[in-house]
Symmetry: C2
Subunit: 338 residues, 2 copies
């Protein structure tokens, strides 16, 4: 492996001091055209590239953004991860930053991991995702005054930079669409009450139902895990009664539940899109290939990744970010399930 080329070697090659080479490369030098050219040539000849570790050391910056995510259970998919990472990566690279992914741990160990990364000088900021109410990471980072951007919202009384997707609006769109298709009896398969994301989305459901003058029946709000199994069970209950009694449409808070509902409806011999409409949330890649293709709500993940990094970079540089709280709008994707 060819030895790494350093400033000193370039300097020798060009017949100047190595500090002068540094200045030329950083464009802040008082040098004659000839020596400049000589230096540039030497840099090129030797293939010199500045050592980033030394640079970071000198600048007391790591130029790294810490990121960790909840690993999904084996039978779930994190279809968002690829898009989210890729968009952050691109935006970060453009600003001269890199991502530092690290394993996700629960409980106290989690904050320890964040603290350790700060104390060892490995990162200049964090993007945190899967935030919920009373997220210990937010409290910690706010107290340390360490730059971070949250993908998601937390307690309303906390003020911190964040990017989120307007889940309420997503459900509004879904319900409004159902209403426009003459549905009047609409049920929801929701998440447990301790889920901030779930409550946001369900809030949009309530809002749209009220706006449309429809009755919200408590027994038509099923709350449980965001799994296929729960979606299946919940839909079986919701669709158990007679055609004139049961809901004509079901919205689920994610595609996995919606697919469960699809199954349950099929088991009951119902034709989906006809006897009962089903809408999901996420636009999981498989959803388009289901039978029937699932109507769902698509989130602008790439944009979210970009925005997170954009704001964070400003914070890390110490400049005021242009925006501090970003709420992105999702989009209803109409297929045949509703």
């Amino acid at each position: 492996m060819s030895q790494k080329v350093t400033l000193k070697q370039v300097a020798v090659h060009a017949g100047v001091s190595y500090q002068t080479v540094s200045k030329v490369l950083n464009g802040q030098a008082q040098v004659s055209k000839e020596t400049r050219d000589r230096i540039i040539k030497a840099v090129h000849d030797l293939g010199y590239r500045p050592n980033q570790i030394a640079r970071n050391m000198r600048a007391k910056r790591s130029h790294m953004i810490g990121y960790s995510w909840v690993p999904t259970s084996p039978n779930q998919v994190n279809h968002i991860l690829d898009q989210f990472l890729s968009s952050m990566l691109q935006e970060a690279a453009a600003a001269g930053y890199h991502l530092l992914p690290f394993p996700f741990r629960e409980g106290q160990a989690q904050v320890d991991d964040y603290r350790e990364l700060i104390n060892t000088g490995r990162v200049d900021g964090f993007v945190i995702s899967s935030v919920n109410y009373n997220d210990p990471r937010i409290a910690f980072l706010l107290e340390r005054k360490f730059p971070f951007v949250a993908f998601g919202r937390s307690n309303p009384e906390l003020d911190f930079p964040n990017v989120d997707i307007d889940g309420a609006n997503g459900l509004c769109q879904a319900v409004e669409y159902l209403i426009s298709r003459q549905h009047r009896r609409i049920a929801a398969i929701a998440w447990p009450e301790d889920s901030r994301v779930g409550n946001d989305r369900l809030g949009g459901f309530f809002e749209a139902m009220k706006a449309g003058g429809l009755e919200i029946r408590p027994e038509w709000i099923e709350r449980g895990e965001g799994t296929f199994e729960f979606g299946c069970q919940a839909a079986a209950r919701l669709l158990g009664s007679s055609a004139s009694e049961r809901p004509t449409a079901i919205v689920a808070l994610n595609d996995t539940q919606a697919i469960g509902a699809l199954h349950a409806a099929r088991q009951l011999g119902l034709e989906i899109g006809q006897d009962v409409a089903i809408i999901g949330f996420d636009d999981a890649p498989m959803s388009q290939y289901l039978f029937p293709p699932l109507t769902t709500v698509r989130q602008p993940i790439q944009e979210a990744g970009r925005e997170c990094v954009e704001i964070l970079v400003a914070l890390m540089k110490g400049t005021q970010p242009l925006k501090r709280n970003v709420l992105l709008q999702p989009e209803l994707i109409r297929r045949t399930s509703a």
Copy 2:
């Protein structure tokens, strides 16, 4: 933000020179029990954690593993990414390394990216994935003698450290299973000929067919993109003839194609699992929730990630890795589609 604690501050606090603190922390000091305790206490009191950038600078190592992956198109999923990244992350962390993900670019720019990371001293090694025949990265890294491990295989004449999954064996298992279920007319939906992975898997198909004494009919080998659409078209062609003429089973090289085949079969009014058996490859998380649940081949991704990092760490440390070429066995997951 509390100023970073350095060795010097700890030293002042403990009344020793800062180099002594360093030695104590690295366990190579000749110090009395009392001063050692005093130093340990000072470290603890001040919450000192060594600055990793300075450490890396001194060691001339970045302790980073570069990794970049092909971003999937919007309507595909990279359900592997999460598992692969997480397992690499964990293994790397245990060895004191971190992952440096970077955006994937095609063509010449790709090798430039790898070169730049080396020349700027950002990484000590790479895990490369999505390798194919004549991969320019492999040629480049071999020539530079830079540590790397490939997830996947390339040209047989090249010798480099790699981990791969035995796709041939996966298809063997699938075909053998079909044969055990009395299938004799088996077709395959495969990939273009320039795909090393595709050829590996298809090779297993041929092998198992021969071993079972079954006829391989060229018109029953469909080659095309690994997409839903191609799977759909291919299956429509394969299943177009009469019940006595057409294949009774189809194996696809990935789940996406298999799902396309599922659709086509349903369109033709065939009952899947009964009139025609379909087997996929990948065990995409949605596959279990399809109608009917897809029989498929699951790859040990986590193990692959672990192995890659394990071998790479040895290479980066300059020690001989215990293994150099690892071939992991996939597992047939039996559901109802076959």
